[in-house]
């Protein structure tokens, strides 16, 4: 498997994991904010540049496996890259590029007391997310899950208020139980078939009782961490009470990574344990999440809570991949949805952060007249919101179109209804925000924004605009990118490469 | 079993007895100083007997030396910690904070 790995690929994978880590260590040792900020930008640009040849390599060779430490399977820990992982890596790197400068400027501008703590925490979290996406070893995933959890909980805790810290504590305890369950699953797999190397687990795993219980434990564990629908209770509070740039990281990157991991495990090492009923069951959970999250989002009065509930809903679409996994279109759609949603969601949060700087809070009723003083940010919310809702011509439309086609192609028309209703509700909650913003205040003098768009520093304006533009741009590049999203080896997605 | 083994067994049982008595003292005695008295005496003598018994059982130079070190360090640590705790307890009773 390693024959396809050339020096450049090996270097890129190393840089993706160790680059942010080494920078984080530098940030701890030398807390110079300017220096670190520019270094993060440079690193993000470098990693983007490295992702190009990496994508090309995956396109030509199919999934790549790099065994760390120069050892052979199955004792080595492998890094594994396929189109699904590649999509996540693009998303994470783009988010790093856009969110970090914004976060730095935002925290400085709002005189946030944790401004010094943020860079190192984010960089370690970035390491964790990249390694989580790349890891091909079950036990290593447990360690990486802990890194992402501690990083994400810390970001929530930076919200400072008693509400934020108690949300962080709630999140942490959910996550701790989740880790223990994941560890239980890992231990059962190892005790039963003596493997942790995921590309090989799919070959050796059958539907023995230990494997089935391991699958259940791992699913429950990751679902608690990723806040999948019935276990979502901590997510809206936590995401809404974190500092706004951190909310963007949590909703766009951390939550997506959790669902990514579930799909990876379900359709990879555990692909052999599925039946039609259980696959449909996962789809039903996803559909319930879509409907519940959207309905809750419609009832909220704070922008950040609306967007957080929208995350609960949008993650549900990714679960629809499980019942539709036989169709390549569904894979394309899921990856495209994850990327578009991540970019658009981050864009909305960043724009909402600017509104908070302007009006002091994020309550809908205080938005009146925002079209006068925050037109650019509202435009971002509109475009990114359209992408979340899946309206043409955004990337969200392409993603949902592919998912719809996959559902129709396999005659599973009931998912079509769910996707359509979910999009409609999403459009409703996005335009509800805009509607409040367009409302004219009764008294013109009441409009007293602390900050107008024009006076915001450049670093607070371009990141949300870039993210919305990317989410929009993906709508025009579907055909171009489709070959990169091809899953060459459908079922099992990971296992096919096992020796 | 040789006669040495029997002696070792007796020493081990004696050590365990001291630990038992010390623990009862720790649980039953009324105040901090009495409890310290019970615990340090029992631990120092009890551990000494245990180490002696194990050394007789082991009968190698390195093993005996290791056990001697274990005992000496435990003695040093328990002496000092008992002293610090006693000092702390005295300071507390002077200010009338506790018993």
């Amino acid at each position: 498997m390693t024959e396809a790995i050339d020096g450049l690929t090996a270097g890129s994978l190393t840089a993706l994991i160790l680059g942010p880590l080494i920078l984080a260590l530098v940030a701890v040792a030398l807390p110079r904010r300017r220096l670190i900020d520019s270094a993060v930008m440079l690193l993000a640009l470098l990693l983007l540049a490295l992702l190009l040849p990496l994508s090309r390599a995956v396109l030509t060779h199919g999934p790549l496996v790099m065994d760390l430490g120069g050892h052979d399977a199955p004792i080595a820990i492998p890094l594994y890259v396929d189109s699904l992982a590649l999509g996540m890596l693009w998303l994470l790197t783009l988010l790093a590029l856009a969110i970090h400068p914004y976060a730095s400027a935002w925290l400085q501008r709002s005189d946030h007391p944790h401004a010094d703590d943020y860079p190192a925490l984010w960089l370690v979290l970035w390491t964790g997310l990249n390694s989580l996406v790349l890891s091909g070893d079950l036990f290593n995933l447990y360690v990486m899950l802990e890194v992402t959890t501690l990083g994400a909980v810390s970001l929530v805790m930076l919200g400072q208020s008693a509400g934020a810290v108690s949300a962080a504590a709630r999140y942490l305890f959910f996550a701790l139980v989740g880790s223990v369950l994941f560890l239980l699953g890992t231990a059962l797999v190892y005790a039963d078939i003596g493997l942790l190397y995921m590309p090989m687990i799919a070959v050796h795993a059958d539907a023995s009782p230990a494997i089935v219980v391991a699958l259940l434990a791992i699913t429950a564990g990751v679902a608690m961490k990723a806040a999948l629908f019935p276990l979502h209770a901590w997510l809206p509070i936590a995401h809404a009470s974190a500092p706004t740039p951190a909310s963007a990281v949590l909703s766009a990157a951390v939550a997506t990574a959790g669902v990514y991991l579930l799909l990876r495990l379900w359709l990879g090492p555990f692909a052999g344990t599925w039946t039609i009923t259980t696959a449909q069951g996962i789809g039903v959970i996803g559909a319930a999440g879509i409907l519940y999250g959207s309905a809750q989002a419609l009832r909220q009065q704070r922008i950040k809570v609306i967007v957080a509930y929208s995350t609960v809903a949008q993650l549900g679409y990714l679960l629809l991949l499980v019942p539709l996994a036989q169709s390549p279109l569904a894979w394309q759609g899921a990856v495209y949805h994850a990327v578009t949603h991540g970019l658009a969601k981050a864009g909305i949060f960043l724009a909402a952060g600017n509104l908070i700087l302007a009006i002091g809070n994020d309550r809908l009723e205080n938005l009146s007249g925002a079209d006068q003083f925050a037109a650019k940010n509202l435009l971002v919310i509109g475009i990114a919101g359209a992408a979340v809702a899946g309206l043409p011509p955004t990337g969200g439309f392409i993603a949902k179109w592919w998912l719809l086609s996959a559902a129709l192609g396999q005659g599973q028309w009931w998912w079509v209804a769910v996707i359509a209703v979910g999009s409609l509700l999403a459009a409703a909650y996005v335009f509800r925000i805009l509607q409040y913003a367009m409302r004219q205040p009764e008294n013109r003098a009441e409009i007293d924004p602390r900050v107008r768009d024009q006076s915001l520093p450049y670093a607070l304006l371009w990141p949300p605009a870039l993210l919305a533009a990317l989410a929009l741009g993906l709508g025009f590049s579907g055909e171009l990118l489709a070959p990169f999203l091809q899953v060459t080896d459908l079922s099992p997605a990971l296992g096919g490469t096992g020796r | 079993m040789t006669i040495l083994d029997w002696i070792a067994l007796a020493l081990l049982l004696g050590g365990a007895g001291f630990f038992f008595a010390g623990t009862i003292g720790l649980l039953r005695f009324p105040d901090t100083l009495c409890r310290l008295h019970a615990m340090t005496k029992a631990d120092n003598v009890g551990l000494g007997l245990l180490c002696l018994g194990l050394a007789l059982h082991e009968r190698t130079l390195s093993g005996t030396l290791t056990l001697a070190f274990v005992w000496v360090f435990a003695l040093a640590a328990s002496t000092l910690s008992a002293f610090l705790i006693a000092g702390w307890a005295e300071a507390r009773s002077d200010t009338g904070e506790g018993s």
């Binding site: 004792i75 909980v153 805790m157 810290v165 962080a168 942490l172 880790s179 239980l184 509070i237 | -």
Partner: protein, 100 residues
């Protein structure tokens, strides 16, 4: 006897820990219960490592060592978070904090 008694103990310890997580509201005690569950899994892993034909399998032992460090780190972090929460809200259970 031995091949059964340790795995059964591991399973029961896990159940005890789970009961603690579900019923204890005081955060430090809930934390102890989570750690109990982790210890139960470590016990299970080590027990499975002893039986092989090639002598003790070092991989589960290494996993447990890593797991112990990870558990200690998360525990240290959780303790600071609990104390921080205590300073902010004077609460030691999440149930007693009223959501705003």
């Amino acid at each position: 006897m031995t091949p059964i008694v340790f795995p059964v103990t591991a399973a029961l310890l896990f159940a005890i820990g789970l009961y603690g997580v579900l019923t204890r509201a005081r955060l430090i005690q809930r934390l102890l219960a989570v750690n109990l569950m982790a210890s139960a899994i470590f016990l299970f892993l080590i027990v499975t490592s002893t039986g092989g034909p090639h002598g003790p399998d070092p991989v589960p032992q290494a996993m447990v060592l890593t797991g112990i460090v990870v558990a200690l780190s998360t525990m240290a972090y959780a303790l600071v978070l609990i104390r921080h929460l205590r300073v902010l809200t004077r609460a030691e259970t999440l149930e007693s904090i009223v959501d705003d």
